[in-house]
């Protein structure tokens, strides 16, 4: 009786699954072809892609421009999300630690720049932007170590709840303490120094040539986007190098089987702490850049749902794979801006996406090959009576 009821439903999921399998095969085929290309071609294509990315605010590609919001601002936001996803990927994807309070590091970075750089904060000495950024990165790294030191010895699921608690504590401090000024926030966050070179004679928005004027100003979002894009590219390069180094292999070993790694002589706690600190630093950097662009930061930007959205970006895209998490971050930040009419439903839709991806394709849309093998291995080991 139940079988007749179940059949059409199973048919639909089967078709969907087969369709998705074909898509995944196509993706991995493309990646294979990409890695078979001569090195010079790959470098050339990457350089071309990077040039296009830098020029994106001024290119008129039909269909991708957002209609209701400033397109360059959206690009900046996407870059920030990608930076966050790259940082969170170190923690979640590479080291296998579920961090639900990543927004806490973002907020620490943003508030550090705001408090040390803004004239409206209680700190007496005003530091220039170039000094604030290293302070922000250092402080978020320290906060990552302070959070990780006691908690990284815990089992994975406890760690998730404790990091969630950390995010909530940061939010409460942001809302209630006097130094962060609550919902009124801190205005006057410094911007990077530098002027347009005098040979640039392009006409700015107000009809004056750009040459000789301040590069980072409220009138023009493009330099902020370029700055964020540069940060993204540098961090991606760094993370890619780390991934293929001794540290990356240690993370992998710890993620797959901590006890076995420990027996093989990998000091798992130290490497987990490193992953936490590096992830935190990248989160802090993204927060700092975000506050720089807005020249303002307040407690309303610190929302725990956003933190879960970050995890969704990493997990849906494909934890452990830089391309995957980039795709995830772009989906999560760009789609709600492009299709504003659905923006209110975004948490709902991403919540559904989290469940669907975990059930049908736990390795993510663009999976890391090694993780896909790991998960398939576990499925084979499943006891038959469960």
């Amino acid at each position: 009786m139940t079988q007749t009821n179940d059949k059409p439903r199973v048919g639909v999921t089967d078709t969907l699954r087969r369709f998705d399998d074909r898509r995944a095969e196509a993706v991995s085929g493309l990646r294979q072809r990409w890695s078979d290309l001569p090195r010079a071609w790959r470098v050339g294509a990457l350089v071309a892609l990077i040039v296009v990315l830098y020029a994106l605010p001024d290119l008129a590609i039909p269909g991708i421009r957002t209609t209701e919001t400033d397109f360059t601002g959206v690009l900046f936001l996407v870059a920030i999300y990608v930076l966050i996803a790259v940082g969170l990927n170190v923690v979640v994807g590479l080291a296998g630690l579920l961090d639900l309070g990543y927004i806490g590091f973002f907020a620490v970075g943003a508030y550090t720049v705001a408090i040390f750089g803004s004239p409206n904060s209680p700190v007496v000495i005003k530091f220039p932007w170039l000094v604030c950024i290293p302070i922000a990165i250092a402080l978020t790294m320290i906060s990552g170590v302070l959070l990780g030191w006691p908690t990284l010895r815990l089992r994975g699921d406890y760690l998730a709840i404790v990091t969630l608690g950390f995010g909530e504590i940061i939010r409460l401090i942001a809302t209630n303490s006097t130094i962060t000024n609550g919902n009124r926030g801190i205005a006057g966050v410094p911007v990077p120094p530098g002027n347009w070179p005098s040979f640039v004679q392009t006409i700015g928005i107000d009809g004056e040539p750009l040459g000789g004027r301040a590069l980072f100003s409220i009138n023009d979002t493009r330099p902020f986007y370029w700055l964020a894009l540069t940060a993204v590219l540098l961090c991606m390069y760094g993370v890619r190098r780390l991934e293929n180094s001794r540290v990356g292999r240690a993370w992998l070993a710890v993620r797959e089987d901590e006890d076995a790694a420990e027996i093989m002589g990998v000091p798992s706690f130290r490497f987990k702490l490193w992953a936490f600190a590096i992830g935190a630093a990248l989160g802090g950097l993204s927060g700092a850049l975000f506050a720089t662009h807005n020249t303002f930061f307040n407690a309303e930007s610190v929302l725990l749902q956003t933190s879960i959205l970050y995890v969704a970006a990493v997990v849906v895209g494909g934890a452990g794979n830089l391309l995957g998490v980039t795709v995830g971050a772009i989906i999560i930040s760009y789609l709600p801006e492009r299709f504003r009419e659905f923006a209110d439903y975004r948490y709902l839709l991403f919540g559904l996406a989290l469940i669907a991806v975990m059930i049908f394709r736990p390795q993510g849309i663009v999976p890391s090959r090694r993780r896909a093998v790991e998960l398939a291995d576990r499925a084979k080991e499943a006891p038959t009576n469960v």
């Binding site: 296998g96 579920l98 639900l100 006691p150 908690t151 815990l154 994975g156 699921d157 406890y158 998730a160 709840i161 404790v162 969630l164 608690g165 950390f166 909530e168 504590i169 409460l172 809302t175 209630n176 725990l304 749902q305 879960i308 995890v311 969704a312 997990v315 209110d344 439903y345 948490y347 709902l348 991403f350 919540g351 559904l352 996406a353 989290l354 469940i355 975990m358 059930i359 736990p362 998960l375 576990r378 499925a379 080991e381 499943a382 006891p383 009576n385 469960v386």
Partner: protein, 316 residues
């Protein structure tokens, strides 16, 4: 820092803390049951509670009670509360069951790592939270006043109202009932067997899937009861009510020893008191920080909780 206030009103704070803690304990039981059997944190349990509060609100609205309606006579109040409890228990139990079927069962078949369970649980929690948020337009919903607090007696110079007494006693009664169910009935023996050794239990003829459904329903029913008590006590609910309460209840479960039913009771009451004292000391905005700190400290120094993790070993 408000030491003067805390010292002067110590027992008052303890009594209000116990009332809050009784509700935590009921919700904590849901975490503990699932953890005891499946060794996984049912992150979406907080939203099960939230669904219960809205079910009670709907019930009372259907029965013609509004925010401004007069306090009805005692017999009617009992009727209203019992009906709300039935509806809320049904709604919460059904929600918990749906979460189990949709988010957990497919993963169990694949022996997925526990982090994947946690991620689907977060997804389920986000979906419920947002769905209710969109339905109620993210506005709070006020409840009718069903019980007018009357001071019944004084306990060590703390006034105890009829409301506080009722909440504590009904929570204790429900927990006693659950304890009886788990320790003395055939179904309860099945739960303990699966918690202790799923494979042997399966060999002895215990249907594991059915037991798992049972614990989710039980946890949901208790969360439903807790949500009615919460509504009577607080008189307002929002779509995000589950988040902080869920974290506190989880902290309570860990404090008592997750997987241990009596531990959930002890942890809930203790956490309620500690949180209330902390809120008195540092100010109300920092209330939730206290439960997080308690959680972290317990996990650091006594990760098995005060009474130890032991649903399987509940009765030898």
């Amino acid at each position: 820092m408000n030491i003067h206030f805390v010292v002067n009103d110590f027992w008052e704070l303890v009594v209000t803390g116990l009332t809050q803690g009784a509700i935590y304990a009921l919700v904590a039981l849901g975490y503990t049951l699932v953890y005891g059997v499946l060794k996984l944190i049912n992150f979406a349990h907080s939203e099960v509670f939230m669904v219960g509060t809205f079910a009670s609100w709907l019930t009372w609205t259907w029965l013609g009670l509004g925010v401004n309606s007069k306090v009805p006579p005692l017999i009617q109040v009992l009727g209203y509360v019992v009906i709300a409890m039935i509806v809320a228990a049904f709604a919460s139990g059904a929600t918990a069951l749906v979460i189990e079927r949709v988010a957990y069962r497919p993963l169990r078949r694949r022996n997925a790592p526990s982090l994947i369970f946690l991620i689907t649980a977060i997804g389920a929690s986000l979906v419920l939270f947002e769905a209710v948020g969109l339905i109620v337009h993210r506005q709070p919903r006020g409840m009718p006043v069903l019980v007018k607090p009357v001071v019944l007696f004084h306990f060590l110079d703390a006034a105890v109202t009829n409301l506080q007494l009722t909440i504590i006693i009904s929570a204790l009664a429900m927990m006693a009932a659950l304890d009886f169910f788990i320790n003395r009935t055939k179904w309860g023996r099945g739960v303990r067997a699966v918690a202790q050794d799923p494979q042997s239990a399966a060999l002895m003829g215990v249907n594991r899937d059915r037991i798992i459904m049972l614990i989710f329903i039980l946890g949901g029913i208790l969360a439903g009861f807790a949500s009615v008590l919460y509504c009577v006590k607080v008189g307002i609910t929002t779509y995000d009510v589950g988040f902080n309460l869920g974290i506190a209840a989880f902290a309570a479960a860990v404090l008592g020893g997750i997987g241990n039913l009596r531990g959930a009771l002890l942890g809930g009451l203790l956490l309620g008191v500690v949180e209330n004292l902390g809120a008195g000391l540092f100010g109300n905005p920092w209330r939730n920080v206290v439960s997080f700190l308690v959680l972290v400290l317990v996990l650091l120094f006594r990760p098995n909780g005060l009474l130890g993790e032991s649903l399987g070993r509940a009765r030898v």
